[in-house]
Structure formats: C-alpha cells, structure tokens
Symmetry: C2
Subunit: 258 residues, 2 copies
C-alpha cells in the first residue's frame, strides 16, 4: 500500500464500524491534539514554536479547521499561546517525577530550580484513627503533622499534608523544613534509608481552598497522591497526602508485562 492510497486520519471512519461521515471534526481535532500536546509537554519543539497550521494540516492529512481546533484545545489547557506574527508558542513547563524510584521533590527537580517549602503547620497532634492505623500506631497516639506548600522556582507546585511516626517526626521539628525534603531529613536523623512506599494517584478537581493555596483556578485538574513510606525493611513512618498542580507535573514510569 503506498502512502497515497492510505486514508488520512480524516477518512479512517470509512474503514471502521462507525458509519461514513460519523467521524466529526471534533474527533479529528482531538486525535491531533493528543499527539501535539505530548510533543509540547516533552519539549519536542526545541525553539518553543509549533509548526504553522498549513504544515500541521499536511502532516496530519487534516483540514486547517481541524488543526485550528486542536491548537485551541492546547491553548485552553494553557500549554501554548498564539502570538500574532510569530505563531503558536509553547508556554507551559511541566516537570517529570519518576514513579520507578522513591525520591523527594528537591532530589528530583533540583535542576529546575530551588525547591522551597512554606511550612503552614508543624507540630505534634493526636493521630486520627485512620492515620494511626496506616502507620501501625495505637489509636490515640501522638503523631507529628507537617503541612507544606512546596514551590519550585518560587511557584506553587504542591500542597503536602504529612503525618510522621512520633519518634521519627519529633526530631525533625527543629530542622530546616523550608529547604529540605522530609525524606532527606528522616534519613539523616535516623541514620537509616527509606525503603518501600505504596502510593495511589488520582486526578481530582481543585476545591476552592486548595486552588487558592496552589494559586490555580478553582476546578483546575490536580494529581492527588497518597503515599505511605516505610523505613528500609521496616515499619511505615511517613504518610503523605499530596496535591500537585496538574499543569506543572507529569509522572513517568517504566513497567513490565512479566
């Protein structure tokens, strides 16, 4: 089959179980937008300028209207902006956080600028039962609570609520929580390495409060992460509830079928 005999993405519905003509422009625009947005997020357009509409229309064998609608979707997401006389420019920078190794934020993102923490609360409290259970503590135990707004290059990235086993957390309350990852402080303080962490990742809409703290619009998409970290070979010591701004973070993983 030569390229000229191959249908374009515009025409593929004719080959499918969908009735011919049923593949609307919105579908074609979405198909194009999905590829373009990954290129934008991965920094594939090195000078930060996207190809012009006609070039993209040729590339995707699509109408200019479909391309324009795809670019509109990226613009609505805040990934690109259209500058008259220049073209479509990449405006977003998303950081990649790997899911294959347990790392703190400052460890992970140090090349992107300093990670600083605005400590919103820090102290010893009575553990809520659900938290005590997760950390293997008796009901009603004391626990150390640390709430931080985490900033990269001065801009909010995440709101982290952290519960630490009391013997692990108490010595950290006198440490520099503004400029250090808790992981680094735990390992320095205990002389032990962290081991396994279990985490869950969800996409949620920002409630008004969280949006305000993260300086994001209400309803903005956030990555909500719950992470329970254990000492190496040992007990759970650090339970975190994290909300990352979806427009600033990508998680990456390499997984096996076997």
């Amino acid at each position: 089959m030569t390229p000229t005999s191959t249908p374009s993405l515009d025409e593929v519905a004719a080959l499918s179980c969908a009735p011919p003509g049923a593949r609307r422009r919105a579908d074609r625009a979405h198909t194009i937008a999905e590829i373009l947005r990954r290129q934008v997020v991965q920094g594939a357009f090195r000078n930060g300028v996207l190809p012009d509409e006609q070039t993209l229309a040729d590339e995707y064998a699509a109408s200019r209207n479909a391309v324009r609608q795809a670019l509109d979707a990226l613009r609505a997401e805040g990934l690109v902006d259209r500058v008259p006389g220049t073209g479509t420019l990449v405006t977003a920078e998303k950081y990649a956080h790997g899911l294959n190794r347990l790392t703190g934020l400052a460890e992970t993102l140090h090349e992107h600028g300093p990670v600083t923490n605005e400590v919103r609360a820090a102290g010893t409290v009575r553990a809520p039962a659900a938290v005590a259970r997760r950390l293997g503590l008796p009901a009603g135990s004391d626990i150390v609570y640390v709430e931080r707004l985490r900033l990269v290059g001065g801009l909010p990235l995440s709101l982290d609520l952290t519960y630490l086993a009391p013997d692990i957390g108490a010595p950290l309350l006198g440490e520099d929580l503004v400029n250090n990852d808790l992981f680094a402080l735990i390992e320095r303080s205990t002389g032990r390495s962290l081991g396994v962490a279990e985490l869950t990742v969800e996409a949620v809409s920002a409630d008004r409060h969280t949006a305000a703290v993260l300086q994001a619009p209400p309803g903005a998409a956030l990555l909500a992460v719950e992470r329970l970290s254990h000492l190496d070979g040992g007990r759970p010591v650090d339970l975190e509830f994290i909300r990352f701004r979806g427009d600033r973070l990508t998680m990456t993983a390499r997984i096996n079928r076997g």
Copy 2:
C-alpha cells in the same frame, strides 16, 4: 505526653511558624477531607455510611463546622451524598489500576464487570511523524489506528487512541475489538508476549469534546496517560493516548527507594 495534653489538628498552628490563629477552618477542613476521601475511595466504610458529624468531630478533635466543610468537599467531588435521616453515604466507586505490571483493562478490572469497547474508528492511516518516530517507523509509513471508548459495567471509563505498528495492527482489524484488550489480541496474534512499557501520567481538565464522549462534565479532572508498549525484548509496537475519567479510576504503585 497524654492525649489530653496533645493539641488537636485545630490547634497545631500555634506550634508552627504560622502565627497563632492563622490556621483557618478551611485548612482544618481540608486536612480532615484528605483522610476521609482516601477512606471513601478505598472502601473503608464497609456499609457505605460515614460516621455522623459529632463522631467525626470527636475523632478529628475538630469543630462540627470544620467536619461539615470537609464533607461538603467530598460531596462536591461526587464521592458522598447526604441523605436526610440516614447520614452521609458513599456514592462513588473507583477502580484501582496497578502501575507495577503492564496489564490491559479487561485483565485488571474483570471482577468489576465486563469491559466493553465502542470502536469509534479502526483502520490503516499514514502515520503522523511524531507517532512514526515513537514506534521506530520510517516517516510516512502506514500505521493502524484504533479509537475506542472503553466502558466498565456499561459506563464510560476511558477514551483510548491507539497506534499500532502495521504488521502488528493489520491482523487485529478483523478481530473482535469490542470484547478484547488489544494486549491480549497482540499476544495471541504474534505468539509473543509484550515486555516493557513507558508511560506518563498527567491530570488534565476535560475539554468539551472529550467530556461529551466520556459522559463527564466539561472541565472534569481526567487522568491522561501516554503509554508506549514494546514486544518482549523487542521493538515498540503500541502507542496509546488514554483519557480516564478521574472519578472512576485510581492508579496504584509500589516503589523502592533503592
């Protein structure tokens, strides 16, 4: 330290670098909501009924107003609903999709009900350059494109755009794409196992088109996944762009510090 001498989550700001009184009710409500929502999502309330407000206020050493605000946040997210005379009931069911092993949706969720696919497009097209590169194909190659709306128990879960290497994808176009994972079809057709996949996970807001397809409100939080799957020990064959409804899916992983 006895429980009575330990400050509550309401009072912890006094111990922190925040000025006393700066920890507002919205902060306390968020702290409570984060714990409760994990319990809801993990199915911790087995009969589906949350404790009453006074019990929660005691549990979190918080005011009833803070508890009410936390429950309002869960309700706004669609996780619970308040039923007069009965209390606060869990209304959401989220499926867990593991990130530690590469699995198809039907393999993963089979106990939750049948996974079916509405095939929106399927056929051979000319590969966009960015897609050809990711799959290691020459520019302008033919490629197989499959677009599916995936449903669990008859409700939309994800919209998947899939590009398959032509020799892998072409034999699948005659197969039952409605009732099978592509992974299973690829392995059956090639007689080989899949191997490694690289994936990225992001939180994004649903554009109007995707929202309509997924039967979610415009702007709803979605998990956007890009996944490139390789044959065992071999070449990349399957590139997917997936949008999961955030209110229906949780991703889980176990990661190591080492």
